[in-house]
């Protein structure tokens, strides 16, 4: 079965480059990059800053808002937003915790990622969007509306992931072919079996702006 694969991350974007680390140290130990931990060190082989295992300050840009968290470096993007905010964002779900079911799908700089398999600390400085931020002023995103209109959901637990994956797909291909819809949503699983209706819903959406 085809599954969506993640393209390898660009190391230079990771926020942990040697250059950033040296800059930070040069500034007298002040956490200019906002990634520095209580016990900083350098991995001898990669040169990356070693942080943790205790909580470190992490700044995320989610749905256009800046969020400051104090979390362990191992915390995933999904768990950070679901469990480590005073006002938690629980829209996206955790189904498998291994990047297979897609219930956690979020958009990072316009690309779909499995938030259960993405460390929060790695996506600092990037534009993160999740299902909680799709509706504007109480008005559902056209994709969300189409899911409601076509009954493209049953228990609804996988739905946030499917909705975000569909938004990601339509921002890339505003007029997708049936094949593009199928491939674009192959990384998500619905156990209730709503696929036919999700396909119908996504096919019916018009007017999503290219992202």
């Amino acid at each position: 079965m085809p599954k969506r694969t993640h393209e390898p991350k660009d190391k230079a974007e990771s926020g942990f480059s040697r250059r950033n680390f040296l800059k930070t140290v040069g500034a007298g130990g002040v956490a200019a990059g906002a990634v520095l931990a209580k016990a900083p060190g350098v991995d001898a082989q990669t040169g990356a800053a070693a942080v943790g295992p205790g909580p470190v300050p992490v700044t995320l840009n989610v749905n256009g808002k800046t969020l400051r968290l104090d979390i362990e470096p191992r915390t995933t993007l999904l768990d950070a937003l679901r469990m480590h905010l005073s006002d938690p964002m629980t829209g996206n779900k955790r189904g498998c915790d291994r990047g297979a079911c897609g219930a956690c799908t979020m958009l990072v700089d316009g690309r779909t990622v499995y938030a259960c398999s993405t460390l929060a600390i790695e996506v600092q400085g990037k534009k993160i969007r999740n299902v909680d931020g799709l509706a504007e002023n109480g008005k559902l995103h056209p994709v969300q509306q189409a899911f409601c209109d076509k009954d493209a959901l049953m228990c609804g637990f996988c739905t946030p992931g499917f909705v975000v994956a569909s938004v990601g797909l339509l921002e890339k291909h505003p007029n997708p072919t049936p094949e593009q819809i199928r491939k674009g949503l192959d990384g998500n699983i619905c156990r209730c079996g709503t696929f036919s209706r999700i396909f119908e819903a996504v096919s019916s959406v018009k007017g999503v702006q290219r992202g």
Binding site: N130, L140, F157, C192, F195
Partner: protein, 733 residues
């Protein structure tokens, strides 16, 4: 047929202890303006926006996280448990020993994942750390892993009374005479495998104590049964427990009863003096929260020269895991066999135990029977549909298979089906298959509905049921609105909380049929009271008033009436209230369905693609056409997964599950979904029956038969993996 098939479903239709419903409340007593139409889910916007709060999303002030330590072995004795390393972990709060090593009654673990101990910490990450730190010493014991070994007596004796429990033999007619009448005979073995429920939301609870009162958010198919499970498991009064489940992420039968994790969570919360959330992870889900038992049958069958199944002799077995049977499947499923014998053995192995899974027993019975039917049809040189028509029970409102087979053949293009084995050159072979299914469904009490109509025109319908994803919340509003001549959006449905009264669990396709009569009667009673209030003003008797289109008016003089809000202004300060329970007469039992499948099989790679499915399905009175169709789509996809992809694979030596995840436990994705046509048959005169389970019964057999028709060889076990198809092809060659 009605009496025998009603036994097939979980729902029994209820022994009619209550008096039959007064005809004035019947489904035909008012025009159906909302019932039967296509109504979008009222909670759709909450679900698509992420606002819907599942148990997994519940956060309580000061909430801690629980985690269970589980057996890595399929069979082992707990020798010692050392909690002290966990106590050193940052954030550790408390721990609980579930299996006391000193207690010989409970210190033996019967399957991988069996509960040993549990911990609580301030964050989920720390709870995982603490659970890992607990030191448990096990003494591994010999385990039964293979059903075949258990049957052959080659497995260690693990279960009291033996690993194999012989069941009774059922017999009818004269089998020897039947075989004498047979012109063609068959002797084959058919098998289905174990699959797990894979609910997208794992099992779990959030438990919060206030003194001796427990509030529990549970992802459950039955808030009331969960409450009773907490009460009996914790030895506290039921009145001290409140269970809430507003949204839940799939159950498919595995969430009908509260699992051990629920009681552990409640105990941990008590011990910690704080709310505790304990959600299982994906691996735990596969191991301990239930599975569909396997089924197998060695079948000898005989067919007369004119295509009648005159003899049927089946020896069946199956496993439901550690100490659980698997016998709940009827053979030869729906078909008549005047001379038959069936003997069943339950086989116990050291795995997590079975739980009901979407139409328990039926997909298995369907596969074991339908593959044989096509093999027999080929022997008798008959078309599979003609052969089935010869062997079906007489047609009746609850036995419509013959009609559906004929209609489906026409609609699907059955006349284009080639005989067994696609003669087209090349590696891609095309084929068609058909199978039928049934399920009991039906309604039962108690399921008490409470209706309130306020002076501002607001309507509340309250019932202690739950929405497991089928759209129950929307049905509550629809049935109420339909009775009151309103729109569903004008009704506030209140469900998913034990404070809303008594109703049954959502299992056996019984929720709609169990809840809708009480709701309709309560709404109509409230309407009667409202009519009494306004009748004098309208100068007519209450009986002469009609509620329709948001107005109440005099039957013979439509202009004489008032709007719903105006009518409700006459109610006064106390709202009108009315209660009603399920009553016989508005529901019935047993569905019929037929499904046609078309596949393309690449005989070079063994890959099967299902290209088309046609489902013809009835469910009595259709309440919401839109969500009912969704149930059928979903049932088909579930059965397609059963046919082609999912499989609980055990390591033959260690007895551990090798694919307790979602990347190697395969499930269909968007590219695997065929074009599906759903033809839902509305039968208002039968009342409500139920639909959650019926459509998931026949797909797997229809797909397997389409593969047989395409390739010309018969795979007699599921799943139809590429490896198995290649292997069969090689054996055939």
């Amino acid at each position: 047929m009605a009496s025998s098939s009603s036994k097939q479903g979980q729902g029994r239709g209820g022994a009619p202890q209550a008096p039959p419903v007064d005809p004035k409340y019947n489904w035909t007593s008012t025009p159906r303006t909302v019932v039967g139409s296509r109504v979008k889910r009222l909670d759709g916007p909450d679900k698509v926006s992420g606002r819907a709060k599942y148990t997994f999303d519940v956060a309580r002030p000061g909430m801690l996280y629980g985690r269970i330590i589980r057996s890595p072995y399929p069979h082992a004795k707990v020798v010692s448990i050392d909690l002290s390393p966990a106590q050193q972990i940052k954030g550790f709060k408390t721990a609980l020993i579930v299996r006391d090593p000193k207690d010989d009654k409970t210190n033996v673990l019967m399957y991988q994942g069996d509960e040993v101990a549990a911990v609580v910490a301030d964050t989920e990450e720390h709870a995982i750390d603490a659970a890992r730190a607990v030191k448990v010493q096990y003494e591994p014991l010999p385990a039964v892993i293979s059903v075949d070994a258990a049957l052959a007596g080659r497995a260690p004796e693990v279960f009291t009374g033996g690993n194999v429990r012989p069941g009774q033999t059922q017999q009818a007619g004269d089998l020897d005479a039947g075989f004498k009448d047979a012109k063609f005979t068959l002797d084959q073995t058919y098998q289905t495998h174990v699959i797990t429920h894979v609910c997208m939301e794992s099992h779990g609870t959030v438990c919060e104590w206030d003194g001796d009162k427990l509030t529990a958010w549970v992802t459950t198919q039955g808030v009331n049964s969960a409450r009773d499970n907490f009460a009996s498991g914790l030895s506290i009064p039921q009145s001290n427990v409140r269970v809430i489940c507003q949204y839940m992420g799939g159950g498919f039968g595995s969430k009908l009863q509260l699992g051990p994790e629920g009681l552990i969570c409640a105990k941990l919360a008590k011990q910690a003096g704080a709310p505790v959330k304990l959600m299982l992870d994906r691996k735990e889900e596969h191991l301990v929260t239930g599975n569909r038992p396997s089924a197998a049958a060695h079948i000898k069958a005989g067919v007369s020269a004119d295509g009648v199944l005159v003899a049927y002799d089946a020896e069946s077995w199956g496993t439901g895991g550690a100490g659980q049977g698997a016998g709940g499947f009827q053979l030869p499923y729906i078909y008549l066999a005047p001379n038959k014998r069936r003997t069943h053995k339950d086989v116990f192995i050291n795995t997590g135990t079975q739980r009901p899974m979407r139409a328990p027993g039926h997909p298995q019975a369907s596969f074991l029977t339908e593959i044989m039917m096509d093999e027999l049809a080929d022997l008798a040189k008959m078309d599979p549909i003609q052969f089935r028509l010869k062997n079906l029970p007489p047609e009746a409102p609850n036995a419509m298979w013959g009609s559906y087979l004929k209609e489906g053949a026409e609609g699907f293009g059955w006349n284009k089906r080639h005989p067994t084995g696609d003669p087209t050159p090349g590696s891609i072979k095309t084929g068609m298959g058909v199978a039928i299914g049934t399920w009991g469904g039906g309604g039962r009490g108690p399921s008490v509905a409470h209706c309130e109509v306020g002076s501002d025109g607001s309507v509340i319908m309250r019932v202690g049921t739950q929405d497991i994803g089928t759209g129950t919340r929307t049905l509550v509003a629809m049935v109420t609105a339909d009775a009151l001549g309103l729109q569903p959006s004008q009704v506030t449905p209140e469900i998913g909380d034990t404070q809303y009264g008594v109703s049954g669990g959502s299992g056996g396709s019984t929720t709609a049929a169990s809840t809708s009569p009480g709701m309709r009667i309560a709404a109509l009673k409230a309407l009667e009271a409202l009519k009494e209030k306004i009748a004098p003003e309208l100068g007519a008797s209450a009986d002469a008033l009609v509620a329709e289109g948001g107005r109440i008016y005099v039957k013979d003089n439509k202009a004489k009436g008032m709007s719903w809000p105006d009518a409700c202004k006459r109610i006064g300060t106390q709202p009108i209230t009315a209660d009603a329970d399920w009553q016989p007469g508005m529901t019935s039992v047993t569905t019929s369905g037929a499904q046609f499948a078309e596949v393309k099989v690449d005989v070079k790679t063994g890959i099967v693609r299902v290209t088309r499915v046609l489902a013809i399905q009835d469910c009595g009175l259709v309440l919401n056409q839109l969500t009912a169709e969704s149930q059928v789509y979903g049932g088909i996809v579930g059965s397609l997964n059963f046919a082609l992809f999912e499989d609980r694979i055990l390591d033959r030596r260690t007895g551990q599950m090798v694919n307790p995840n979602m990347e190697w436990y395969l499930l269909a994705g968007m590219s695997d979904i065929p074009s599906i046509e759903v033809r839902l048959k509305n039968m208002p005169e039968r009342g409500v029956v139920g639909l959650g389970e019926p459509p998931t019964v026949p797909t797997a057999a229809a797909v397997a038969l389409a593969v047989r028709n395409a390739t010309g060889f018969t795979v007699r076990s599921l799943p139809l993996t590429p490896a198995k198809i290649i292997q069969s092809l090689q054996q055939k060659a």
